[in-house]
C-alpha cells in the first residue's frame, strides 16, 4: 500500500515547468514580458470568445482589483495589454526593469485568478471588444479576414475579433478561460531580463500552479479556388492567398511579388507568409482608393505567382523581410521556382473592379 501511494504521488506531482525563455540582453532600462497562452486564440474558441477573454484580462482578479493593478503599474513605470491572435492569447507587459517580479506576479494573477465579474463584462470587456472590432475593420482587415474564412473555413478561418453574431455572458468567458489556462499552454518570454531571475519569479508565481494539460487542437483543413466579395464604400482591398507548407519558398515568392509589382504612390502592397501553428497562409494584400488600380494589381499578381521562376536572387530580400516581421524562417532551402495555379481571392470595397479568382 505504501509503495502504491508513493508511485501515485510521484507521477502526479512531477514538476512540469512552464516553458520560459529570454531574448535580448539584460541591463537595459526597460524590460518586457510576454505570456503566450497557446491554443487560446480565435481558432480554438467559439467565434469571438477569445477576443472577449483578451478584453477581460487585467481587470479584477481575486488578488487585486483592476484599479490597483493600473495605479501600481503607473507608479512602477509599466504598461500592459492583452491581445488575441489566431493561435493564442498574448498577455504583455513593458516596464522598468526592477518591476519584473511585480509583473510576473500580476500576469500570473490574471491567468490564475481573474474574477470575470458580470458587471465588468457588460461595462468594460464587451463594449471595448466591440469598439476594437469597429476600429480594426478597415477594408484591408476585412479582405484578410475573408481570405482566412474561405481558405480555412473553421479553426483559423474563424473571425479574429468578436463580431456580435453570438451572445456570450461573463460565465462563458470564465468557462473558456478555465479550459485554456493550462500549464501546457503557457509560454513565457522575457525580453532584456536576467533569465535566472525570470525562472525564479515564474516558479514562485501562479503561472506554475496552473492545472496540468494542454488544449487539443483539431487538424486544420483548407480549400483553394474560392472567392469572397464584400461590397462596401471606401478603399478597395484584395487579398490573394493560398495555404502553403513550404514556408521558405513562399517567403521568397512574397519578396519576389513585392519587388516585382510596379511601385505606386496610391496603392499599398504587402506580401508575406502568415505562419500559424498547424498551417501557413501565403498572401498578397493590395489596397488602393481606386478599385481599378486594385484590380490591375491583382491581375498582375496572379500572373506573377502562376509561374514564378528564378526566385533565388530574391533570397536576400526575403531574409530581410522575415527578420523585419519578427519571424525566423530560414530561406536558404527555398526552391528556385514555384507555381500557384489556383488560389483564393477575397475583395472588400468596389468589388466590380476586381476579377474573380477563376478569371485570373
Amino acid at each position: 500500500m505504501f509503495a502504491k501511494t508513493s508511485i501515485r504521488s510521484f507521477s502526479t506531482t512531477a514538476p512540469k515547468a512552464v516553458k520560459v525563455s529570454t531574448v535580448g540582453t539584460p541591463g537595459t532600462g526597460v524590460s518586457s514580458l510576454k505570456v503566450i497562452v497557446k491554443n487560446a486564440g480565435s481558432k480554438t474558441s467559439a467565434p469571438g470568445l477569445a477576443h472577449l477573454l483578451a478584453s477581460s484580462s487585467f481587470l479584477n482578479t481575486n488578488a487585486r482589483s483592476g484599479l490597483r493593478l493600473k495605479r501600481e503599474s503607473e507608479l512602477l513605470g509599466g504598461e500592459y495589454k492583452a491581445t488575441v491572435t489566431r493561435d493564442s492569447l498574448v498577455l504583455e507587459a513593458k516596464f522598468l526593469k526592477e518591476a519584473l517580479p511585480y509583473f510576473v506576479d500580476a500576469i500570473g494573477d490574471v491567468v490564475a485568478g481573474t474574477a470575470f465579474r458580470p458587471h465588468e463584462f457588460s461595462e468594460l470587456a464587451l463594449p471595448y471588444a466591440k469598439h476594437e472590432t469597429a476600429l480594426k475593420s478597415t477594408s484591408d482587415f476585412k479582405a484578410l479576414e475573408a481570405l482566412h474564412a474561405i481558405t480555412f473555413r473553421t479553426g483559423l478561418g474563424k473571425p479574429l475579433y468578436y463580431d456580435g453574431s453570438k451572445s456570450y455572458t461573463s460565465e462563458d468567458v470564465a468557462k473558456y478561460a478555465k479550459s485554456v489556462f493550462l500549464e501546457g499552454n503557457i509560454e513565457v518570454i522575457g525580453t532584456d531580463v536576467v533569465e535566472a531571475d525570470l525562472n525564479k519569479f515564474v516558479a514562485e508565481s501562479a503561472l506554475s500552479k496552473l492545472p496540468a494539460g494542454e488544449t487539443p487542437v483539431a487538424k486544420q483543413s483548407s480549400v483553394v479556388g474560392q472567392d469572397a466579395r464584400i461590397r462596401q464604400a471606401g478603399p478597395t482591398s484584395a487579398a490573394i492567398g493560398v495555404p502553403v507548407s513550404d514556408v521558405a519558398t513562399f517567403s521568397v515568392l512574397a519578396a519576389y511579388v513585392k519587388a516585382s509589382l510596379p511601385t505606386s504612390a496610391t496603392a499599398s502592397v504587402s506580401a508575406e507568409v502568415a505562419t500559424y501553428n498547424g498551417a501557413s497562409l501565403f498572401y498578397v494584400l493590395i489596397s488602393s482608393a481606386s478599385g481599378a488600380e486594385t484590380g490591375a494589381l491583382v491581375t498582375e499578381t496572379a500572373k506573377l505567382i502562376k509561374e514564378a521562376k528564378d526566385l533565388s536572387k530574391f533570397k536576400a530580400l526575403a531574409t530581410y523581410n522575415e527578420l523585419a516581421n519578427g519571424s525566423t524562417v530560414d530561406v536558404s532551402a527555398a526552391k528556385a521556382s514555384v507555381s500557384v495555379p489556383k488560389f483564393n481571392l477575397a475583395v472588400a470595397g468596389d468589388v466590380d473592379t476586381v476579377p474573380y479568382a477563376d478569371e485570373l
Partner: protein, 442 residues
C-alpha cells in the same frame, strides 16, 4: 518611489559612439537590440531650412532618393530597404534597413545613392512626378486630424519664421518644385559639416568611419537657420462636416538642451495620454483623466513637449465628440495646467510622471531606422547621445520644486498657440483661452 541606488549600479549599456571627421561630417553608431540594422545618411536640415517658395523640398529630395532606380534595385536584389524621414530640423536622406550581417550591401547602396544624387535630382520628369506625389501626400496629411492640428499649432506659434513651415511641405508649393529647386537646396545643405552617417545595430564603428571618410561629400560651412519667434495666436480650420472637434494648445518651452527641459517632460507625463474608449482608462491615476471620467466630455487628450534645437512647445492635443462641451474641455485642461504653477500636484503624481517618462525614453523603438533618426538628431544637437544612465539621472533630478519653477516660468500667464479643426464653434476666442493660463486666486 524607486530609489536612485537601484539605477546607479553599473550596467552594460548599449552606448553610442560619435566621431567627428576632419571635414566636419558626423559619424555615430550604437548597437541595437533588433534583428535588423540600419545605416542612414542624415541632413541637419529639414523643413526649417526651407522658405515659403521651396517648402517641402527636403521631403522631395528624400522621396526622389528612395524612389530612384538604385534604391529599388538595392531593395529587390540585396534586401536593403531604402527609406527617408522628415522632421523640422533633420532629414533622413537615404536610410537603409537590412538584415544583420548584410551591412556591406547597405554601404554599397548608400555610396551608389550619394554618387547618383546629382543625376537623380536632374531627371526633370522624374522629379516632376515625385513632386506631384509629395503634393498629394501633403494634401492628404490635412485629413489626419491629430497630426494636422499639431502642425498648424506649430505654424501659428512660429508664424513668419521658417520653423512655421509644415514638415512635409505645403501642397501648393510642392506641386511647383523642379530639379533646379532640389539642386539649389542640396548645393547649400549637402555639405560635410551638415551631414551625419548614423548606424544602429550590427555595424562596426571603425568600418563606418572609414566608409564616411570615403563618401564624395564637399566640405563647407554649416548653413545657418532662421531664429524662431513665438507669437501667441490661434489658427482655426473649422469644419462642421467632421464628427468631432480637435484642438491643440501649447506654450513656449525651453530648448531641448536646456536643463529645465526635463521638468516639462515630466509635467507632460503627469497628465499624459487618455483615451475615453481605452479599456483601462477609467483606472488611470492622472487627475485630468479622472476628471474626464467623472464628466465624460473629452474623448482623448495627449500631452506633449515638442523639442527643437532652440525652443520647445509644451501643451496638449484635445479631441471630443461632445462639441457643445469643447469650451469646458479646454477650460478644465488649462485649469489643470495651473496646478503645476501653484504646486498643487501631489508627490505621487510626480513619481508616476517620472516613471512614465523613464519608460517612454528608455523603451527601445520599433525599428532601428527610428532609433537611427533619434541618434542622428541628438548627435547634431549635442554632439553625443545621452546614455541610459544619464537619462535616468536627469529624470530623477526633477523635483516637485523644479516642476513648479518650470511651470511658473514657462506656463503661468504665458501666451499660447492654439489651433483647431472640426466642429470648433465652442472654442472660445483667444483672449478667453489666454485668461485661463493664470488664476484670479492662487
Amino acid at each position: 518611489m524607486l530609489s536612485r541606488r537601484f539605477f546607479s549600479s553599473s550596467r552594460s549599456v548599449a552606448k553610442s559612439v560619435v566621431t567627428k571627421l576632419p571635414n566636419g561630417l558626423t559619424v555615430a553608431s550604437k548597437p541595437g537590440a533588433q534583428s535588423t540594422s540600419s545605416i542612414g545618411l542624415y541632413l541637419n536640415s529639414g523643413s526649417r531650412s526651407e522658405d515659403p517658395f521651396n517648402s517641402g523640398v527636403s521631403t522631395l529630395v528624400g522621396n526622389v532618393v528612395t524612389a530612384s532606380k538604385t534604391a529599388r534595385e538595392a531593395y529587390a536584389l540585396s534586401g536593403v530597404e531604402v527609406g527617408s524621414s522628415n522632421a523640422k530640423e533633420v532629414t533622413g536622406l537615404a536610410v537603409t534597413s537590412f538584415a544583420k550581417g548584410n551591412s556591406k550591401e547597405a554601404f554599397k547602396a548608400i555610396k551608389a545613392l550619394v554618387s547618383g544624387l546629382e543625376s537623380s535630382v536632374s531627371d526633370a520628369s522624374f522629379v516632376k512626378q515625385k513632386a506631384q506625389e509629395a503634393s498629394a501626400f501633403a494634401e492628404a496629411f490635412e485629413n489626419q486630424h491629430k497630426s494636422m492640428v499639431i502642425e498648424h499649432m506649430i505654424s501659428t506659434a512660429f508664424q513668419g519664421t521658417s520653423l512655421a513651415l509644415p514638415t512635409y511641405g505645403k501642397a501648393d508649393t510642392l506641386a511647383t518644385l523642379e530639379s533646379s529647386d532640389l539642386k539649389a537646396f542640396l548645393g547649400k545643405q549637402f555639405v560635410a559639416s551638415n551631414l551625419a552617417v548614423v548606424a544602429v545595430g550590427d555595424v562596426d564603428h571603425e568600418e563606418l568611419v572609414k566608409f564616411a571618410t570615403e563618401l564624395p561629400v564637399s566640405a563647407g560651412a554649416k548653413p545657418a537657420v532662421e531664429p524662431y519667434h513665438f507669437l501667441g495666436s490661434d489658427a482655426r480650420l473649422r469644419d462642421d462636416t467632421l464628427p468631432t472637434a480637435h484642438v491643440a494648445i501649447s506654450a513656449k518651452g525651453p530648448a531641448v538642451s536646456s536643463p529645465e527641459y526635463y521638468a516639462g517632460l515630466v509635467a507632460s507625463q503627469i497628465n499624459g495620454f487618455y483615451q475615453h474608449s481605452g479599456l483601462y482608462s477609467q483606472f488611470s491615476g492622472s487627475q485630468l483623466a479622472q476628471f474626464f471620467n467623472e464628466n465624460p466630455m473629452c474623448d482623448e487628450f495627449d500631452h506633449f513637449s515638442l523639442g527643437f534645437s532652440d525652443v520647445s512647445l509644451w501643451g496638449a492635443y484635445l479631441e471630443t465628440e461632445h462639441i457643445e462641451y469643447l469650451d469646458e474641455v479646454v477650460h478644465f485642461t488649462l485649469k489643470n495646467w495651473n496646478r503645476f504653477s501653484s504646486g498643487t500636484f501631489t508627490e505621487t503624481e510626480l513619481e508616476q510622471g517620472k516613471a512614465a517618462l523613464k519608460l517612454k525614453l528608455l523603451a527601445s523603438d520599433s525599428t532601428p531606422a527610428v532609433e537611427a533618426e533619434k541618434l542622428a538628431s541628438r548627435s547634431f544637437l549635442h554632439g553625443f547621445e545621452e546614455s541610459e544612465g544619464e537619462i535616468i539621472k536627469s529624470v530623477d533630478e526633477v523635483s516637485h520644486k523644479s516642476v513648479v519653477q518650470w511651470a511658473q516660468k514657462y506656463l503661468y500667464d504665458q501666451d499660447i498657440a492654439v489651433s483647431g479643426t472640426g466642429q470648433i464653434e465652442a472654442l472660445f476666442d483667444y483672449n478667453r483661452l489666454r485668461n485661463d493660463m493664470s488664476m484670479m486666486r492662487w
